[in-house]
């Protein structure tokens, strides 16, 4: 393709316009926003007050469960990217964007960055409610930032995976299905109960799935405990998923649109 530019095409400029668009669309999609913001809070209250009394984790249950709720919230929040992307892919607007010489990846980038903004908001909300019901982290500000940082890296990686799912989904409903999968992924991990209490056959999966090291890292940082190798594992998982997600999304996008 010869691309003698008459006007500069800038991925960054296009992506920032697309980000504004995605943010407006998510803020105005009240149902989805409400679910993304309040479902995690409801689940946290449910775990702490209804199940928490029966679960013995060696600490206050709320202290144990907050990182798990945060990851549940982040996973579900990221998966909404698939819905937004697939709405675009299956509607008329993609044809217009493509016929306008806009960098293709900018549409996906806009959705991913807006997903990060949305998740940051819901993370803050969960932490605020957690604090109200007795969560007292023992972390210094740097550790808190570290915990939020690793969570956002996880959100970035999962949002790109979601974007890829959104691109290949032939309907919005199919893209929605990914959200349910992600919603259940934290259960077989150390999110809500210690893995040792689970049947042995599931240990292998629960210990080695990507959410566990991210949760363990956040837990260690927030409670000022030794990190062990969980931070490296979490970074490796998130980095790997991020690369895979970006490649899959852009590859699928090119396949789908040409």
């Amino acid at each position: 393709m010869s691309d003698t530019a008459l006007r500069p095409t800038s991925l960054l400029g296009d992506a920032s316009v697309m980000l504004g668009r995605s943010v407006r669309l998510s803020v105005r999609n009240m149902d989805a926003l409400f679910t993304a913001l309040f479902l995690p809070v409801m689940l946290m209250l449910l775990f702490v007050y209804l199940f928490g009394g029966a679960i013995n984790t060696g600490t206050e249950y709320v202290t144990y469960v907050v990182p798990g709720v945060l990851i549940l919230c982040a996973g579900f929040g990221s998966s909404l990217t698939a819905v937004g992307v697939s709405q675009d892919m299956n509607g008329g607007i993609m044809d217009r964007f493509r016929s306008m010489d806009i960098k293709g990846a900018s549409v996906l980038t806009g959705h991913v960055i807006s997903s990060m903004a949305r998740n940051l908001l819901s993370t803050v909300l969960v932490l605020a409610v957690a604090f109200l019901i007795g969560f007292r982290p023992e972390a210094n500000p740097l550790q808190v930032l570290g915990a939020i940082g690793i969570l956002l890296l996880f959100v970035l990686a999962f949002s790109w995976i979601s974007a890829a799912i959104g691109v290949v989904s032939r309907s919005v409903e199919a893209a929605n299905g990914f959200g349910f999968f992600v919603l259940f992924l934290p259960y077989p991990s150390s999110a809500f109960v210690p893995i040792e209490t689970m049947p042995t056959w599931i240990h292998g999966f629960a210990e080695h799935q990507p959410m566990t090291p991210v949760i363990e890292t956040m837990r260690a940082l927030l409670l000022d405990q030794p990190l062990g190798n969980s931070a490296w594992l979490a970074l490796a998982w998130c980095g790997g998923l991020l690369v895979a997600g970006v490649l899959a999304a852009t590859f699928a996008y090119r396949r789908r649109v040409s």
Partner: protein, 321 residues
């Protein structure tokens, strides 16, 4: 050297698996003209538009739009065109103004310029009052107008309109027609697809009739109408036996026979002499033909004569291609 056409396509072919959607389409569209691709659903109209707007690669053939090759110079083509597709390409959750401003920014206008252009367009398309409302609350006609406005942020060399009035009520259709007529005055080349003969007749300088992935006729509305001899003689047979005998006698000259209603038509020049001669020829005993009417040919007749079916007949069977 003659001026280069706005669109020049030769031998475009496209197949989806076994289904051959385009079987060698050739087109030439003069700069500043309105060109209409007329045909039923599934004839290959949208596929042609998607190829010409770089959204879909053709299996064979070559196309130049605004002088650039749609395959080799995709970016340059994209900078010269605008597309208003069949599906509305605006965000329901954004206001009309936000949609236009966003498109302006994506056309790389500076922020302030984009806002000013949005205001101008809202005014031009009679949407100023609804500009601050979300598109979700708009009527079909308003959406279509906004959609058109969004494709005119920067004046394109070639504007593609894929069935711009399908599904609109008559009043909204009229409004879209006015917009298109205004645009032609500003020198934009317009490539328009439609299933409506009236629309092509009204807007287009040149019409190409497409059916089954091929151009079956091309010319001005007047030229096309001449192809069916200008007038049409509609006949009603006395009974089924007479119907069979009459249509049998006429053979290939029969247009639109409907056995259940005993009706069929024949092309005529509309003179009394010719009508009398046709009647005498096919019904010398003066018993087989019950009634007749003569009227001047419409584009519908052209379509029927060229393709053997009306524009609406095969819609559902081939929809979606």
């Amino acid at each position: 050297m003659p001026e280069q056409p706005a669109i020049e396509a030769t031998g475009l072919e496209k197949a989806y698996g076994e289904v051959r959607v385009l079987r060698g389409v050739d087109l030439q569209v003069a700069r500043g003209s309105v060109f209409s691709l007329l045909g039923p659903n599934g004839a290959g109209k949208t596929t042609t538009v998607r190829i010409l707007t770089t959204l879909l690669p053709a299996d064979a053939g070559r196309a130049l739009v605004a002088g650039y090759d749609v395959r080799e110079q995709r970016s340059l083509v994209r900078r010269s065109i605008s597309l208003t597709g069949q599906d509305t390409a605006i965000d329901e959750l954004q206001t009309g103004e936000e949609n236009l401003r966003m498109m302006g920014r994506l056309c790389r206008l500076p922020r302030r310029r984009a806002a000013a252009r949005a205001t101008e367009l809202l005014d031009q398309f009679d949407l100023t009052e609804s500009g601050s409302r979300r598109v979700g609350t708009y009527s079909g006609g308003m959406r279509r107008r906004l959609d058109l406005a969004a494709s005119l942020i920067v004046r394109p060399e070639v504007l593609f309109l894929d069935e711009p009035t399908t599904g609109l009520d008559p009043r909204s259709r009229q409004q879209v027609w006015e917009v298109v007529t205004d645009l032609t005055r500003s020198g934009v080349t317009i490539f328009l697809t439609t299933q409506y003969l009236e629309e092509a007749d009204r807007l287009a300088d040149q019409i190409a009739v497409v059916d089954g992935g091929r151009i079956v006729a091309q010319g001005t509305a007047a030229q096309l109408k001449q192809q069916v001899a200008g007038h049409r003689l509609d006949l009603v047979a006395a009974d089924r036996r007479a119907f069979d005998a009459l249509t049998g006698h006429l053979g290939a000259r029969v247009v639109a026979p409907v056995p259940e209603r005993l009706t069929f038509s024949v092309a005529t020049d509309g003179t009394a002499n010719h009508v009398r001669a046709v009647l005498d020829e096919i019904d010398p005993a003066r018993r087989a033909v019950a009634r007749f009417t003569v009227h001047s040919a419409t584009l519908d007749d052209v379509f029927l004569a060229l393709t053997g079916h009306t524009t609406t007949q095969q819609e559902k069977e081939t929809a979606g291609v």
